[in-house]
């Protein structure tokens, strides 16, 4: 099987944070349904890995797996990378324009000016404080899933950062059936990093593995909003099978190509 596999890890971030577990809040999909993966779209996906071997018993194929974490209740990962910053800047520009208009207004009634200022404050939103652990997320406004700046964070209507896989471990790794690693990626949809693994298909059986996934929760600490990391784990399985290679023409060993003698004579 030369096709690489993709495993989508879709997390209901809001509910996972509320219940502090990924059980029942994670939906796993892969592109191997045709080849026998089970429980697509559920939390207990079993990914089929079909290996093959040559007539002398040696391994004829290895499988490459790629994991992609997605978030339910977030701005789609397919929008351009600068989307968050661009939306934030747009909100700032609008607020500045409104402020200018307010300042230029002659002798505004005091109550009216105050109301206008409050409205402008709403549209600017608040920035999230910088912490060492969440530097990538800091200094930006909080947006909702439609890309609008959120002013009142206590309403919980904000978009969550994409979940991040921070480790893949467990039985399949301990047994040296699967060799996972994190790679840098030119594909910015996956945040420049992704987890990938090669599978030794010479060892049939069902092996479990665990993903450690980092979510981010918006919390108010000392009057400032911060994204706090929350680490949770979720388990999945690989089902490895192995069958002999065969000749496509003969279904057995190699022979002459099926050309009719003298067909062109």
């Amino acid at each position: 099987m030369t096709q690489q596999l993709a495993i989508i890890v879709l997390v209901d971030v809001g509910n996972a944070l509320a219940s502090r577990t990924l059980d029942g809040n994670t939906y796993l999909f892969d592109n191997m349904k045709l080849h026998g993966s089970q429980n697509e779209g559920a939390g207990d996906l079993v990914t089929a890995v079909n290996g093959s071997y040559w007539s002398d018993g040696s391994q004829a194929s290895e499988q490459v797996l790629n994991w992609l974490p997605y978030s339910l209740g977030s701005i789609p990962p397919t929008v351009p990378r600068g989307y968050q910053a661009a939306r934030g800047r747009e909100a700032d520009r609008q607020a500045l324009a409104e402020l200018t208009a307010l300042a230029n207004r002659p002798a505004a009634i005091s109550g009216e000016a105050e109301a206008a200022l409050t409205r402008i404050q709403q549209s600017v939103g608040t920035r999230v404080r910088t912490t060492a652990r969440t530097r990538a997320l800091s200094g930006q406004q909080v947006l909702d899933v439609t890309g609008k700046v959120v002013a009142d964070h206590s309403q919980g209507a904000h978009s969550y950062p994409t979940p991040i896989i921070t480790d893949i471990f467990g039985e399949a790794v301990d047994e040296k059936v699967m060799y996972p690693a994190e790679y840098g990626s030119p594909d910015l949809v996956t945040d420049g990093w992704y987890w990938s693994a090669t599978v030794d298909t010479s060892r049939p059986g069902t092996f479990s593995y665990t993903m450690r996934i980092q979510l981010h929760e918006l919390l108010q600490r000392a009057d400032e909003w911060t994204w706090e990391p929350v680490n949770l784990t979720c388990e999945s399985k690989l089902c490895i099978t192995m069958e002999p290679r065969r000749n496509g023409f003969t279904k057995a060993g190699m022979g002459y190509l099926p050309i009719v003698p003298g067909a062109f004579a």
């Binding site: 030369t2 690489q4 290679r245 050309i259 003298g262």
Partner: protein
């Protein structure tokens, strides 16, 4: 003389399924034979071979996460793409096509100097429109 000639069939699976065609640049073929094959990089590849050489076909997807397998390779007769009777056996359901190794020995009785066209059928996932074919590539004995 090389003991083996490899023929690579490179497919843009998404393009082919969208167009329902392996043409329009959705498929190209090339070989590593030492003789003067023609049509390298096109669906009209004519691979020049010698008797006794092993020929191996393999399908590669441009996008590594898309599925493509060779479903069958059938040598055509001298007529207008009519089946001469000799054919690679179809596998019924498209399952386990990945286990096939498409290799064969160039027979000594192959007529020289004439392109022997073959039908190449590719399976891309499953379903009604998942199998596409071309009749344009050929093998020619030196």
């Amino acid at each position: 003389m090389k003991p083996q000639v490899n023929i690579a069939v490179v497919v843009d699976v998404i393009g082919a399924l969208s167009d329902k065609s392996l043409l329009n640049g959705n498929l190209c073929m090339m070989d590593d034979g030492t003789f003067d094959s023609t049509g390298q990089g096109t669906p009209e590849l004519c691979t020049v071979v010698a008797p006794g050489q092993v020929v191996q076909w393999s399908a590669l997807a441009v996008d590594l996460q898309t599925p493509v397998e060779i479903k069958s390779i059938t040598f055509l007769g001298p007529g207008d793409g009519e089946d001469a009777g000799a054919r690679g056996e179809d596998s019924g359901d498209g399952d386990h096509l990945d286990l096939n190794v498409w290799t064969g020995v160039v027979p000594p009785f192959m007529a020289p100097g004439v392109p022997h066209k073959y039908r190449l059928e590719l399976q891309m996932y499953e379903g009604e429109h998942s199998v596409l074919r071309i009749d344009s590539p050929a093998l020619m004995r030196l």
